[in-house]
Point group: C2
Chain length 251, copies 2
């Protein structure tokens, strides 16, 4: 199939398909001698996934990493999409309820407080991220604790927590810069501080959990990006330090 047909079938414009091709999100599996894009059924499959994730609000770059993850087979995507769609359903229902509440209030001559009226917008920002996080960690004790504690935090609390975190990260970066070994006493000390910070602010972070986190810093691109954004090599450095510290206490 050529672009026009695919566009008509999927309900997108040709330009959109060009765009997806250029950014590498969906490149047709073939071209004719004249350079015409040729889409295979597999390409259509992928397009379908792309459109679903897009509809759910994912930035295209993230859609690409999701779909290119070789450890995620189609069933994983379907389950995730199902969950995200149900989240959206709940959210929409909440908004419907809010509007109905307001209509009723109006008809009774009452007026709602600003807090009441904005609450449906308030904590939903991470529609997709929250869903993903819950998929990974939902149901665990740590997750529940974290949810409960962070919900109670004020803006000042957040700023304090962020300052603490920034501090430790900066000292990690300094250690890396100065050539301090990642599995040495100093770096392990920082790792321990890091662990205690998490325990204080989010959830009881034991050594095994901390070691798991450490692994994620080099495996999950979002964490990796965070640390590499501070200093190149920092993700690996922190990961090593955290795991060394865990090993020391664990065994």
């Amino acid at each position: 199939m050529n672009v026009g047909e695919v566009a008509a079938l999927a309900g997108v414009t040709v330009r959109t398909l060009h765009h997806y091709d250029r950014i590498g999100l969906l490149s047709p599996s073939g071209r004719t001698a004249a350079g015409y894009r040729q889409y295979s059924p597999a390409d259509l499959d992928r397009l379908h996934q792309v459109l679903l994730y897009r509809e759910l609000g994912f930035p295209l770059e993230e859609v690409a990493t999701l779909l290119d993850d070789p450890s995620a087979d189609p069933a994983v995507h379907l389950r995730r999409q199902h969950r995200l769609l149900q989240d959206r359903l709940e959210r929409t229902q909440a908004m419907v309820a809010a509007v109905e509440k307001e209509m009723e209030a109006r008809s009774m001559g009452i007026s709602l407080t600003p807090e009441e009226r904005f609450e449906v917008f308030g904590d939903w920002l991470p529609e997709e991220y929250a869903a993903e996080a819950e998929e990974k960690w939902g149901g665990t004790e740590a997750w529940a604790q974290s949810q409960q504690r962070t919900r109670a935090m004020t803006k000042d609390d957040w700023l304090r927590v962020k300052a603490e975190t920034d501090d430790v990260e900066a000292r990690f970066a300094a250690a890396l810069r100065d050539g301090v070994p990642a599995d040495g006493e100093t770096a392990m000390g920082l790792a321990e501080e890091h662990r205690q910070q998490i325990s204080r602010n989010f959830y009881d972070c034991g050594y095994e959990i901390h070691a798991g986190l450490g692994r994620m810093y080099v495996e999950d691109e979002r964490f990796t990006a965070h640390y590499e954004g501070i200093a190149p090599g920092l993700a690996q450095y922190v990961s090593t330090a955290v795991q060394a510290n865990a090993a020391r206490h664990g065994g």
Copy 2:
């Protein structure tokens, strides 16, 4: 309240409020001596409306025209939002169903046709516009006819229809330019052609309906914009011609 507080309450960034101020969508009702934005409760009300419409996918400019329409009291907005949210609910449910269908198909080893898989995306483009249109005309016979006929149209059909329409509109513009009276024989002839075109291509357009359409050309800004984009004064001209033609046949 100053920007920061409003932003925190509504779950948006300060930058967003700056933006809404600059484009005139939501300008705080006051400023302090130092130039600090001061938001009143009424401003918060408006912000709430803005965020709801935004969430529903309306471009900000359109949100502004909706909210600035003096003929639309708060209740109108609430009803519209309620309808749009319910549309979204239905649509999301359809998508959930589609994903479930696909999961089942996969588990049975069957695979769906491309058409089946994309159909949920297909005809939904005008989430909001379609909803608005249906709100106005839904349930009428003309609406149903139009829906049925346009669904059956191929791309070529659309092009042909568009060419026809463009032709009549160009002749209307020429008449206007040449100073031909809008309620004269020539202009009424064009109006009659216009009416028959609609009847052929969309729905049985009698004289009363046509007269109603004519009124809309000067009352609904979208129609007005369309005609004024062709030639200044054309909206009024066509409107007059159409109504004169209807009056001639009606009485």
